[in-house]
């Protein structure tokens, strides 16, 4: 448990989440309809991730 995590292990999830959020922020700006739907899905990702880790039972 004291093993240090690699940079990749630390950052993979945050980086993916940030890229997905950025895609969501941009897509609704570029178009309507399906672009809006993608934006809703993408920006739901950070909310769902937080919900998951906050609500899951103690490890």
């Amino acid at each position: 448990m004291n093993r240090l995590l690699s940079t990749r292990q630390i950052w993979d999830t945050p980086v993916v989440l940030t890229l997905v959020s950025a895609g969501g922020l941009l897509s609704a700006l570029l178009g309507d309809g399906i672009w809006d739907v993608f934006s809703w899905a993408a920006l739901s990702a950070p909310v769902i991730v937080i919900g998951w880790y906050v609500a899951r039972p103690a490890v």
Binding site: M1, Q9, P14, S21, A22, L29, D36, I50
Partner: protein, 427 residues
């Protein structure tokens, strides 16, 4: 369970301070870390109170239009089945202006504009003085029938108070130096927030060297639980918060930017007429709008600024036109129409800095992707409030936290003594 056993076994002699081993194994280039940690701490402390205010006032503003509807401060034109707005001749704009003047004879017409989301309505904005910086009233007319739908006093009501708190803290009226100072002050708080986000992300990395993503040590001391939550919330909303923060800062520069545009390019458009006597007779507004549409057939009229008002000069209608796509909807192109003859005079493209400002605005407001996006905006705003609150709590809890203790907290085995005794207690 295995993990817990392992953690309990690995705790070694209970009297040894947990910081001891973590200092050796987990503290990387501590000088750099310490610097970023202090940057995060101080930029956060500087802006947190104001950011809490901005987040709280921003929450109702996300739903500003819906709230205006509920309060009766906004009325949609009624549905008229079979009415094709592109074909049927529209009601006269001159008629609407006359009706507005008749209702408010002591006020002055500032502009006539078509709301982005209400193609069947026109707003006539009035000012209390001949050249007002802010509209005192807005009259909404049905674009098809010319019927008055709503006559609304501006600069009052709960949403106005919330907006001003969010924009300039009531330091002064719009267009005054004090109002600008308030905006720029909040802008500097936003800048501090942006630095705090970046430095927070920098310290997140070294801090999480022993904790898998999403770890929330809820069975440990409240401080550790909130530290983990602060890290989790912060790193997950970092992208959104950065975008809303940066675009918010850009928005505080809106007035200086518009003023600059006005004093350079817009002023250059009307410069040949400066000093000449103002016209006494005016062309029909409908005719002026037609001329603008003819000059830019692919664009739609957004706002017509009246002669004598800021931007327009004394001799012209300044017609700002916009595109149809979600992106070009925000871009405005000035088209100058002679106020006396109603003829097209000149047109320009927006300068890059106004384009940047206009495109960044929706990214701050979250009003560009329908109600689901607004709701997500509100949820992310609430998460940011918890983030700010937890940061404040963590600072308040241990104002004298040493770097060693800080590193100990980054270690999953921290507080094993405490949690081991907790575990021994009967369940």
């Amino acid at each position: 369970m295995l993990k817990r056993l392992f953690a309990a076994k690995g705790m070694g002699a209970p009297c040894r301070p947990p910081s001891f081993e973590s200092r050796e194994s987990a503290m990387p280039t501590s000088g750099t870390f310490k610097t970023w940690y202090l940057v995060h701490k101080w930029t956060s402390l500087v802006c947190t109170v104001f950011l809490l205010l901005l987040c709280l006032t921003g929450l109702p503003l996300i739903f500003g239009e819906e709230i205006d509807h509920l309060l009766g401060d906004r009325v949609d034109p009624p549905d008229m089945p079979g009415f094709a707005s592109s074909r049927t001749p529209m009601a006269s704009l001159d008629g609407m202006v006359e009706a507005a003047k008749a209702r408010r004879p002591d006020e002055f017409i500032r502009s006539v504009s078509q709301p982005r989301d209400m193609p069947d309505a026109w707003n006539v904005s009035m000012g209390l003085i001949p050249v007002a910086m802010e509209s005192s009233a807005r009259l909404t007319f049905d674009a098809r029938t010319g019927e008055l739908l709503l006559d609304r006093n501006l600069q009052q009501g709960v949403m106005y108070v919330i907006t001003r708190l969010h924009v300039d803290l009531f330091t002064g009226p719009a267009g005054t130096l004090r109002g600008l100072a308030g905006m720029l002050f909040l802008g500097s708080m936003g800048l501090s927030f942006v630095v705090s986000i970046v430095s927070g992300a920098v310290v997140y990395g070294p801090y999480m060297r022993k904790l898998p993503f999403g770890t929330v040590r809820r069975e440990r001391a409240p401080r550790l639980k909130w530290l983990d939550l602060h890290n989790l919330l912060g790193i997950v909303v970092v992208g959104w918060a950065l975008v809303v923060g940066v675009t918010g800062v850009i928005n505080t520069l809106a007035r200086p930017m518009f003023s600059y545009w006005q004093s350079t390019e817009l002023a250059a458009m009307t410069a040949p007429w400066r000093g000449k006597p103002a016209p006494t007779t005016f062309a029909s507004l409908d005719r002026a709008v037609q001329a603008a549409r003819a000059a830019e057939p692919t664009l739609k009229v957004a706002t017509v600024v009246f002669p004598g008002q800021k931007n327009a000069g004394n001799h012209h209608f300044m017609v700002f036109m916009r595109g149809n796509t979600p992106l070009t909807l925000r871009l405005i192109k000035p088209v100058l129409i002679d106020a006396q003859t109603g003829e097209f005079t000149d047109k320009r493209d927006m300068p890059w800095y106004v384009t940047a400002l206009r495109v960044s605005q929706p990214l701050h407001f979250g009003d560009y992707g329908g109600m689901p996006l607004q709701i997500l905006w509100a949820v992310l705003d609430l998460i940011t409030i918890v983030l700010l609150g937890s940061g404040l709590y963590l600072w308040w809890q241990k104002r004298q936290t040493s770097m060693e203790l800080l590193w100990a907290e980054a270690d999953p085995n921290h507080n094993v003594v405490l949690s081991a005794t907790q575990r021994m207690a009967p369940r």
